[in-house]
C-alpha cells in the first residue's frame, strides 16, 4: 500500500513538473531573461560592431540598477562579420543550445533577412533591427518591431530641405548598390517628382570601390548643385575628398548612417564641415532650438547624459568611443525595455508583443516611437519611428540643428 502511494506521488510530481516546464517561457528563468543579438565585430562592417556593445553596456546598466522585475538581462551577442550565413548559424546555435527569449537590434539588412523567417516561424520576438529597411515592415510580422526610421525618409527630408529652403534644382545621388542605397534613390526620386524635378545623375557605388574620380567626373559633368550620399562613412570621406581635389564643391547631403559628426570630421580631416545629414535622435531639436549647436560628446539630452555616465563610463571597454553608433545600440532597444517593464513579473512573449503594440509616442533618446495592434495589411503597425530631422556638421565637430522633427511618408515597395 505504502509502495503504491509513493508511486502515485512520484507520478503526480512528474506530471506537475511537466506542466510547469511547459508553461515557462523559453529564455526566461526566475532570475534571468536571455536576449540574443548579432553584429559585425570583425570584417569590413566592424565599425558597426559598436551597436551591440552599446546595447550590452545599456543592459549592464539596467542590471546594476536591479534588473527588470527582479530579473537580470543576460545579453548574448556574437560576431557574424556581416556574413548572413554566419548570422543564421549563430542564431540557430543560440536558440537551440541556450534558448533566447527575444532578439534585439542586429546590424544590417542582409544578415537580418537571413534570420527573419527562422525567428518569425518560431514566434520569437525581434525588436529594433539596426537597419532602416522596408523588409522589416512590409509585409508586417507580428513578432518583428522596427525602430530605425526608414532610409526612404532621409531622402525625402534632404530633398525637401535642399529644394524648398536652399533652392537647389539640380540634385544628384551616389548610392550604395544595395537595399540601403536603393531606398535612398527611390525616396529622392519620389520627393523630387513633387517639384517636377529629376535627378541629374545617379551613380551606384559598390562596397569594394575605392577610387571615386569617375563618380566625381560624372557629377561635375551633370553640373549637380546638391549631391545626396547614400553610402557608408568611408565612401562619404572618399567622395567629398575627391570632390575637393577636383574642385567640385556642391552642397553634400548625407544620411543617418553618417550622422556621427565627430567621427566624420576626423576621417575627412575636416572636409565634412558644412555637410547636412539626417538624424534620428541623440538630440532633441525642440529642446535645443533650430539654429543652435549640439555637442554629442557633451549631450544636452538628460537621458543621453545619464547613459553616458551610467552605461558608457561604467561598462564600456576602455578603448570604446562614445558616438552615434554606440548610442544607437541603446536607442533601438529602449522600446523593448519599456515593454518588459510594463509586462511585469509574469513574462511571456505574447505579453511583450501585446505591450509593444500599446506603445504610443514613446520617447527615449531617439524620436517618437509608436506601434499598433497587428494588421497584416498595415506596415505602419510595426514601423516604430517615422520622424527624422536635419543637422549640419560644423568645423568644431558640433552639429547645428536645421529643422524640427519631420514625419516622413511611407512609400510601399512595388510588387
Amino acid at each position: 500500500m505504502k509502495k503504491n502511494l509513493l508511486s502515485v506521488f512520484a507520478v503526480m510530481v512528474m506530471i506537475l513538473g511537466l506542466v510547469l516546464t511547459a508553461s515557462a517561457e523559453e529564455g526566461v528563468t526566475d532570475t534571468e531573461i536571455h536576449i540574443g543579438q548579432w553584429g559585425p565585430q570583425t570584417g569590413p562592417a566592424a565599425p558597426w560592431g559598436a551597436v551591440a556593445r552599446g546595447t550590452d553596456a545599456y543592459f549592464k546598466m539596467i542590471n546594476a540598477e536591479g534588473g527588470i522585475h527582479g530579473r537580470k538581462l543576460v545579453h548574448h551577442y556574437f560576431d557574424d562579420a556581416y556574413n548572413p550565413a554566419k548570422t543564421l548559424a549563430g542564431v540557430k546555435q543560440l536558440q537551440e543550445d541556450i534558448g533566447m527569449f527575444a532578439y534585439v537590434s542586429g546590424v544590417g539588412t542582409a544578415p537580418g533577412l537571413a534570420v527573419k523567417d527562422y525567428l518569425m516561424e518560431r514566434k520569437i520576438p525581434w525588436l529594433g533591427p539596426s537597419a532602416g529597411s522596408r523588409h522589416w515592415i512590409q509585409p508586417p510580422n507580428k513578432y518583428l518591431f522596427n525602430s530605425y526610421p526608414l532610409y526612404l525618409g532621409d531622402a525625402q527630408l534632404l530633398c525637401k530641405y535642399g529644394h524648398e529652403t536652399m533652392g537647389f534644382k539640380k540634385f544628384a545621388i551616389a548610392y550604395q548598390n544595395d537595399d540601403y542605397g536603393k531606398q535612398g534613390l527611390e525616396g529622392a526620386q519620389k520627393q523630387l517628382d513633387k517639384y517636377g524635378l529629376k535627378l541629374v545623375e545617379q551613380i551606384p557605388v559598390n562596397v569594394a570601390d575605392t577610387d571615386m574620380k569617375p563618380h566625381i567626373m560624372k557629377f561635375k559633368k551633370a553640373e549637380a548643385e546638391a549631391v545626396l550620399l547614400f553610402v557608408g562613412p568611408g565612401h562619404v570621406a572618399r567622395l567629398i575628398g575627391t570632390g575637393k581635389a577636383m574642385k567640385f564643391n556642391p552642397q553634400w547631403f548625407s544620411t543617418t548612417t553618417c550622422g556621427d559628426h565627430p567621427l566624420m570630421m576626423a576621417i575627412t580631416k575636416g572636409l565634412y564641415a558644412g555637410t547636412i545629414s539626417a538624424a534620428f535622435g541623440m538630440m532633441d531639436p525642440g529642446a535645443i532650438g533650430i539654429g543652435n549647436k549640439e555637442d554629442t560628446n557633451n549631450p544636452s539630452l538628460p537621458l543621453l547624459a545619464k547613459y553616458k555616465k551610467e552605461a558608457f563610463d561604467k561598462f564600456a571597454a576602455k578603448e570604446e568611443r562614445w558616438g552615434m553608433t554606440f548610442t544607437a545600440g541603446i536607442g533601438y532597444v529602449e522600446p523593448f525595455v519599456e515593454a518588459l517593464k510594463r509586462v511585469g513579473r509574469d513574462l511571456t512573449r505574447e505579453k511583450v508583443v501585446a505591450e509593444m503594440e500599446k506603445i504610443k509616442n514613446f520617447k527615449g533618446i531617439m524620436g517618437n516611437v509608436s506601434y499598433a495592434p497587428f494588421d497584416p495589411n498595415d506596415p505602419l503597425c510595426r514601423i516604430g519611428q517615422q520622424e527624422v530631422f536635419l543637422v549640419r556638421a560644423e568645423a568644431d565637430g558640433t552639429s547645428t540643428i536645421l529643422t524640427d522633427w519631420f514625419t516622413t511618408d511611407f512609400i510601399p515597395m512595388e510588387k
Binding site: P44, I203, T210, P214, P233, G234, A245, M246, K247
Partner: protein
C-alpha cells in the same frame, strides 16, 4: 577629349599604387615562386605602426616613416624565415595556403590591436589639394604616388643592375642551385627579397592611408596589384608596373564610358583575356621547358 585625357591621367595616378603592390608581388614570385597573398597585410601592419608612431608617440614624419619601412623590411624577412622556410617539401598550392594563413593572422592582429574604426593618417601634404593644368587635374597625393612609384622603379633597376646583393638576388631568382654553388647564401637572399617586397608594399600603404585607413584598406590595392602583375607577366618587374597602369587606365575608361557599376571587376576581365591570349603576360618572356 579633355574627359578622355582626364580619365587616362586618373587611371595612371591610381595605377601607381597598384604598381607598387604589383612590384612587391613580383619580387617575391621571382624569389619564392609563390603568388604572395600576404602582400597587402605586410604593408598593413607597418602602416598602422606608422599611425601609432605619429599619433600616440608624436614622432615627426621624417622619423616615423623610415622607422616604418625598416619595420616592414624586418617583418617581411621574419615571415620568410619563420614561416615560409619551415614548410616541408612545399608545393605551390601549399605555399599559397601559407600566405593566405599569414594574411588572416596579420589582418586579425591589426583588427584586434588597432580596432576596426575608420581613420585617416596624418601626412605632410594634403590628400585633397590638386594641381590643375588647363582643364585636367591631378591631386597632389596622386602626383606624389606617381613620382614615388617611378623613383622606386629606378632604385630597383639600379639595385638589381649594379649592387652586389641585387646581382645575387637576380642570380638566385634565375637558378638557385647554380647561385648556391657560386657561394651565394640563397636563404639569406630570399629573406632580403621578402623584406624589400614588404617595404615597397608599405610605401604604397603609406600613400593610401592619408585618404582612409581601416584593416581592409590593402585588400583592393593588393588584388589590383596582383592583376597588374599577371597582366604584365609575374616574372617581369617593368611588366608588373605597366600591367598595373593598364589596369588603372582600363578601369577608368570603362567606368567613364561603359559602366561605373562594373568598374571594379574589369581588372579581372583583363586578367582573363590576357591569360587566354598570352598566358605568360604581356611583358614576360615565354618560358619553354625543353624535354
Amino acid at each position: 577629349m579633355i574627359e578622355f585625357l582626364q580619365m587616362v591621367l586618373s587611371g595612371i595616378a591610381v595605377g601607381s599604387s597598384y604598381a607598387l603592390m604589383g612590384l612587391g608581388m613580383v619580387l617575391i614570385y621571382k624569389a619564392s615562386e609563390v603568388p604572395n597573398f600576404v602582400q597587402g597585410e605586410m604593408a598593413l601592419l607597418p602602416v598602422f605602426i606608422a599611425y601609432m608612431l605619429l599619433s600616440s608617440y608624436g614622432l615627426p614624419y621624417y622619423i616615423a616613416f623610415p622607422v616604418t619601412l625598416i619595420f616592414a623590411f624586418f617583418l617581411g624577412g621574419i615571415l620568410e624565415f619563420a614561416v615560409l622556410r619551415r614548410a616541408k617539401e612545399p608545393n605551390v598550392l601549399g605555399l599559397i595556403i601559407i600566405t593566405i594563413g599569414m594574411e588572416m593572422l596579420l589582418l586579425g592582429f591589426v583588427s584586434w590591436k588597432f580596432g576596426a574604426d575608420q581613420r585617416a593618417m596624418p601626412f605632410p601634404i594634403s590628400s585633397y589639394d590638386s594641381i590643375i593644368i588647363g582643364d585636367i587635374f591631378i591631386s597632389t597625393l596622386d602626383m606624389l604616388t606617381l613620382v614615388v612609384a617611378l623613383f622606386i622603379m629606378l632604385i630597383l633597376f639600379l639595385f638589381f643592375r649594379f649592387s652586389k646583393i641585387g646581382v645575387a638576388m637576380k642570380a638566385t631568382q634565375q637558378n638557385e642551385n647554380a647561385a648556391a654553388l657560386m657561394g651565394i647564401k640563397t636563404n639569406q637572399i630570399r629573406m632580403i627579397t621578402w623584406g624589400i617586397s614588404a617595404a615597397v608594399g608599405s610605401v604604397a600603404g603609406l600613400l593610401i592611408a592619408p585618404v582612409l585607413m581601416e584593416p581592409y584598406m590593402m585588400w583592393d590595392p593588393m588584388l589590383k596589384g596582383f592583376a597588374g602583375a599577371v597582366v604584365g607577366g609575374m616574372t617581369s618587374l617593368p611588366g608588373a608596373v605597366f600591367g598595373a597602369y593598364i589596369v588603372g587606365v582600363v578601369e577608368h575608361l570603362f567606368g567613364g564610358y561603359v559602366s561605373i557599376e562594373f568598374k571594379s571587376v574589369v581588372a579581372f576581365v583583363v586578367i582573363v583575356l590576357v591569360l587566354c591570349f598570352k598566358p605568360s603576360g604581356l611583358f614576360a618572356r615565354h618560358y619553354v621547358k625543353k624535354v
